[in-house]
């Protein structure tokens, strides 16, 4: 298991490129991060940011496709990119497992829920079908399915959305993996069910001491779940650090944009949302320099043509070694405090305790 010296998962300079007839799609570039046992990393980004592609790379699910992968993915001291396909298969579902966004399409419609969960157990454990099914019932009970001994024989379509996601979690955790990757686990669910599932994931993480990577576009989910946050844009990490630190003192304009473009439940309703202009870039022909510069409202604060010509490095900013960002801005903290925060949270910017005065 991971110790303080060696993290459970260590990703170094991961690159995932897909050759297509139109050219090379550079889905993930130079991704580096560590994750310790029992901790949660939130990966945030929009569609095409490379967050799902990199998690598929950790699962070894790009094997057998024409994807070009380089770098290192070290899980428990083993580089997953060096081992054979068969060795990787034996790790999938046992040491690292994954749950997906849409539990309806992620489960096979023709097999019972119990069959599909038991299958995940039997493939890594030499047990009879009966024992595996019993284990499936136990797991269903653990994730809070009522009458698990009956529901185990149901088909996925007979479950509600929330129950399906619970069943997916049961399937993912049945072999007690060290690492669980949850790809948008609550995006397809209603808000009260989302709350149930997030609670469940946290409980189980504590119980199993797994490391969790939660992939989402919802900063709110990250805020509730994650210890660390990694913000991705156009296949690269653009900001990385402890969750609270990133949410309270973000230093990268893309993160500012994510924070300012979603309304929250207490903000000023007279204020306009501040969207990120334009569209995410093409991964075939990413813009030169900083990939975010065409959409960045602060690029003229950087001297010269730096944003257009040079890719900024992911380096610590003004707030210590653990908080890294990929941006040329010399004084992001000041800009955030004087220009961004007053727009998205005037109450916090004023430095006063939050009041409801402006709303009433």
């Amino acid at each position: 298991m991971g110790s303080a010296a060696a993290p459970l998962l260590s990703v170094r300079e991961l690159e995932v490129h897909f050759p297509t007839s139109d050219g090379l799609v550079k889905a993930v570039n130079g991704l580096t991060f560590d994750l310790e046992a029992g901790k949660t990393l939130g990966i945030v980004g929009e569609s095409g940011s490379g967050k799902s592609v990199s998690s598929m790379a950790i699962m070894g699910l790009h094997r057998g496709t024409n994807a070009k992968i380089s770098g290192e993915i070290v899980l428990d001291g083993v580089n997953l990119l060096d081992i054979s396909a068969e060795e990787m298969r034996k790790k999938r579902g046992r040491e690292v497992s994954m749950i997906f966004q849409d539990p309806l399409s992620a489960m096979h419609p023709y097999y019972t829920v119990g069959n599909q969960i038991a299958e995940a157990y039997r493939v890594h454990n030499d047990v009879s079908k009966k024992v595996a099914k019993q284990r499936a019932v136990e797991m269903l009970e653990r994730v809070g399915i009522p009458n698990p001994d009956k529901r185990v024989n149901d088909y996925p379509h007979q479950f509600s959305g929330g129950m399906r996601q619970r069943a997916m979690i049961a399937m993912g955790l049945i072999n007690d993996p060290n690492l669980l990757i949850a790809d948008e686990p609550t995006t397809a669910l209603d808000v009260t069910v989302q709350a149930q599932i997030l609670d469940l994931l946290q409980d189980l993480q504590r119980e199993f001491n797994s490391a969790v990577i939660i992939i989402t576009h919802d900063l709110g989910v990250v805020a509730e779940m994650a210890d660390d946050v990694l913000v991705m844009y156009a296949g690269r990490a653009v900001e990385h650090g402890p969750c609270k630190e990133i949410l309270t003192h973000p230093e990268m304009p893309y993160t500012w944009g994510l924070l300012s473009s979603v309304p929250d439940l207490t903000g000023d309703t007279e204020a306009r949302l501040i969207p990120i202009p334009g569209n995410p870039p093409s991964l075939l022909n990413p813009p030169p320099g900083c990939p975010f510069h065409p959409r960045c409202a602060h690029r003229d604060k950087v001297p010269g043509d730096l944003c257009r010509t040079e890719l900024p490095l992911l380096v610590p900013g003004q707030r210590g070694e653990t908080h890294t960002k990929r941006c040329h801005l010399p004084n992001p903290d000041a800009i955030y405090a004087t220009e961004v925060l007053p727009e998205i949270a005037p109450d916090l910017a004023a430095g006063a305790a939050p009041t409801r005065a402006e709303e009433l």
Binding site: R89, G93, A106, M107, P109, H124, Y155
Partner: protein, 338 residues
């Protein structure tokens, strides 16, 4: 389940009745006069009228259809003439229920005609069906699993060529080269099991069945290939892989099970359609099947035979539809009949 079958069967019978009316109506709407057609070229108006009366063609459309429908239920005499029954009963043909009519051109009841031709068409269809399903699905799956390889491209190319060749051309090539020139097979002549045993029956079917199967197989290779490729894109296949299942289990238990379901539908309907659709193959090999019968009947303006065949084939398609839907409910737990 039973209620569902009954409801579908009732709907099917109603459809058959409507179809028989439509077929009748089409014949009545055509410019050819039945009576003069039978009576011949040098037919005086009086003779013509006599013929029409004897055949019942002077009756109204509705009455004629009703007589037909009654015949299906009760059976019927041809000609239905009480005087003739007294004087010359041997000239009257009795057609037992279900009587589909009496073909003057063939000089036999339609029921008998179908009894003679059905085994030929059915044998041919079954043999071709087995060939094309086995070949089409196997090759299609192979192509999908080797997607992008030379094998895949070769199979896709071949199936396109096979699809493009007309059936009569394939049939003639097989007939002329395989059977006659190279002598690799007997010159095909239909042999029933009663006459030639199972071996004789099968070998008599080989060439026409292959001819028929080639066209369908080509279509099924492409269809299977695209379903299987699509199925490998499904989220649940990704789930199966992420559980660490061996690729063999992923392929056969997860991907193929879902991919082959729609093929069941297609296969069932194609089989039913083939019963009357093997016209060209039957003609090329001169097999006395229903397809050939249908062509001759329409050429000769033989209403009873045509109506009989239309209804029989429609009944096959309807039955196949019901069976396919039942199969679907067995295969896919999401489908509930009701």
């Amino acid at each position: 389940m039973l209620a569902y079958v009954i409801r579908r069967a009732v709907a099917g019978v109603i459809m058959l009745i409507v179809m028989s009316i439509v077929t009748f109506a089409l014949f009545f709407a055509s410019p050819i006069d039945q009576a003069s057609f039978i009576c011949g070229k040098n037919c005086s108006p009086a003779q013509k009228q006599q013929t029409a009366a004897a055949m019942g063609y002077d009756d109204s459309f509705i009455n004629q259809w009703w007589d037909f429908a009654e015949g299906v239920v009760k059976g019927r005499d041809y000609p239905d003439d009480p005087k003739l029954r007294e004087t010359a009963p041997e000239t009257i043909v009795h057609c037992e229920a279900p009587c589909m009519g009496y073909s003057r051109e063939r000089g036999d009841t339609v029921t008998n005609l179908i009894k003679d031709t059905f085994p030929v068409s059915f044998s041919l269809a079954v043999a071709a069906f087995i060939l094309w399903i086995a070949g089409g699905v196997l090759l299609g799956v192979t192509a999908a699993l080797k997607k992008g390889s030379i094998i895949d491209r070769g199979l896709v190319g071949l199936s396109l060529i096979a699809y493009a060749f007309p059936t009569f051309f394939v049939g003639l090539i097989l007939y002329k080269f395989v059977a006659i020139k190279w002598g690799l097979a007997d010159i095909p002549r239909y042999t029933s099991i009663a006459d030639g045993g199972v071996g004789g029956w099968l070998s008599s079917l080989a060439l026409p069945a292959i001819t028929l199967a080639v066209f369908f197989m080509a279509g099924y290779v492409r269809m299977t290939r695209s379903y299987v490729i699509e199925s490998f894109q499904e989220d649940y296949v990704r789930t199966a892989r992420s559980k660490g299942l061996p690729e063999r289990t992923v392929t056969f238990k997860h991907a193929l099970r879902a991919a082959l379901t729609p093929i069941v539908t297609m296969a069932g309907l194609d089989f039913a359609g083939l019963m009357g659709g093997a016209i060209i193959t039957e003609s090329v090999f001169n097999y006395p099947g229903m397809g050939k019968l249908a062509v001759r009947a329409s050429q000769d303006f033989d209403l009873p035979t045509t109506v009989g065949l239309v209804i029989l084939l429609a009944a096959f398609v309807i039955a196949a539809n019901i069976i396919v839907d039942l199969l679907y409910a067995v295969i896919d737990p999401r489908v509930r009949l009701g």
